[in-house]
Symmetry: C2
């Protein structure tokens, strides 16, 4: 029986787990401190897990906040690169894990990993081309395309795509430090907070904030549909815990596309096309374990 490790490194917390992807996971969660504190904590957890299981891990997958370098041919493969997060810029995250534990290591973005996890055990099983989005403090997008995680010139950065912004209707300038009113700048959690002077957590269903939110989220989705052609879009993250947003977003997507793309996914099957994660908030760490499976030798 193989044993895999997974790390989901988020901006605020780290989740480390061992298992084979089923229910037999041993897991810890701790706040993400600087790399010099958090990476040894993860290594310690895996050493103990190996001791307890009496076997060596076959591989470890890492699902990391970004930006990162996931290109295996690059000299800085495995690094967290230009992050503003204190103590993490230019850190050889994957290399340190690999060296300490002497196992094959897979390394990707948290959202690419979450997409992979949903494909392996969740809402995208049996599909070859799909997208996972997290709508929270930021907007992140991961993708599996033709059965493999999507990497080209880099990993996807869907949150920074642009959507139409009607300044008359919504004079808010956007919250993105790089782009102002990009998708994340208009529709991420901080934009909701800034625009309405109230956290999205406390805004009630029926508030106009949610009409605008569904409008912007649907515009980003429409672009993803037309460019990346996913067979399914999975939407997680704090904002999407407001499940009433799903039907609103689906309706907006149909309005925006206006019947141009005639497929069942956008008509009678749309409830199965834009969906919440089946793995809840465990898509990332389970995706890391699924990535580990792939690199195990």
């Amino acid at each position: 029986m193989p044993l895999y490790g997974g790390i989901e490194a988020g901006g605020t917390k780290m989740v480390c787990a061992v298992g084979t992807g089923g229910d037999d996971l041993r897991e810890i969660r701790f706040p993400t401190a600087s790399a010099v504190e958090s990476i040894p904590q993860a290594i310690q957890f895996f050493r103990e897990a190996q001791q307890q299981a009496g076997v060596k891990l076959d591989a470890i997958g890492i699902a990391s906040f970004g930006p990162i370098d996931p290109d295996p041919t690059s000299p800085t493969w495995g690094y967290v690169t230009t992050t503003p997060k204190p103590g993490w810029a230019n850190v050889d995250f994957a290399g340190q894990i690999k060296q300490a534990l002497d196992v094959p290591v897979a390394f990707d973005t948290d959202v690419n990993a979450a997409a992979y996890g949903e494909g392996r055990w969740g809402a995208a099983q049996g599909l070859h081309t799909f997208v996972y989005l997290t709508i929270g403090t930021g907007i992140g997008g991961g993708a599996v395309s033709n059965g493999k995680l999507l990497h080209g010139l880099m990993h996807p950065e869907m949150g920074h795509s642009r959507v139409p912004h009607d300044w008359q209707k919504d004079p808010y300038a956007g919250s993105c430090g790089y782009h102002g009113d990009c998708w994340e700048g208009l529709a991420g959690g901080p934009a909701i907070q800034d625009r309405w002077k109230q956290s999205g957590r406390t805004l009630p269903e029926g508030h106009p904030a949610w009409d605008l939110e569904a409008h912007y989220l649907a515009h980003g989705l429409a672009n993803i549909i037309l460019i990346a052609c996913p067979q399914r879009i999975i939407m997680g993250g704090g904002v999407m815990e407001h499940l009433f947003l799903f039907p609103m977003i689906r309706k907006n997507v149909q309005t925006i596309l206006n019947g141009y793309v005639r497929v069942p996914h956008l008509a009678e099957e749309i409830d199965a096309f834009i969906v919440p994660p089946a793995l809840g908030n465990r898509s990332g760490v389970l995706g890391a374990i699924a990535m580990a499976e792939q690199v195990a030798q």
Copy 2:
């Protein structure tokens, strides 16, 4: 020596060719009439070509205007579907060719085929993830992702994605019958004609039309980069014959992304990242032949 056939069916002309993809092509071009006229003309060409070569074709690839059904598991695979083009709606294009000539047939959009052709013999050799765009009467986008043509819920329809539209700066409402000011509606050939009351063919370099065109084209490209992560973007079509647009577009893409994505493709290597087709106006028909190679048994 295998022999392959390729059909590029465009809105106004059809190109049929036989060969192996090198310089040994025999080829005809004729205006696209209705399906009942044009499909038999293509079949006749291939019959004559087989007779002349003294061998049977191993396979035929079809690169078709759309919308089409390229899903091999669908009962309407091979059909041109809801096109407004007279005599082509709901036509079993691939099935008729397959039945008449009794060969394996590959079927995809003209732009997906052009992407594939550029990957096989042109500007994207050795890459696994790239995009081909044609900017002309419409804006069409094809993509190879992780080494395969991109199909999910359908084929890409990148031209109908949305980009920011500053109504103060550009009060033109857009030319798209479905979406008004989508990317194609703002930046396709007809939009240039409508907005400036002059064909793009006669507008001189330095005219403000080209600043606006480069601005919109770059916005569409930025979204494609952030969502589909291509290793290269190939831009063909009538509008892009104005080669002075390339440096303008590259500069606009850098301005829009504003240093967020730090990769050489968007910095010192950008001249090799956004490029014209290496196969000129033959990407489509050569792509059809490359697709035929893939389905030959």
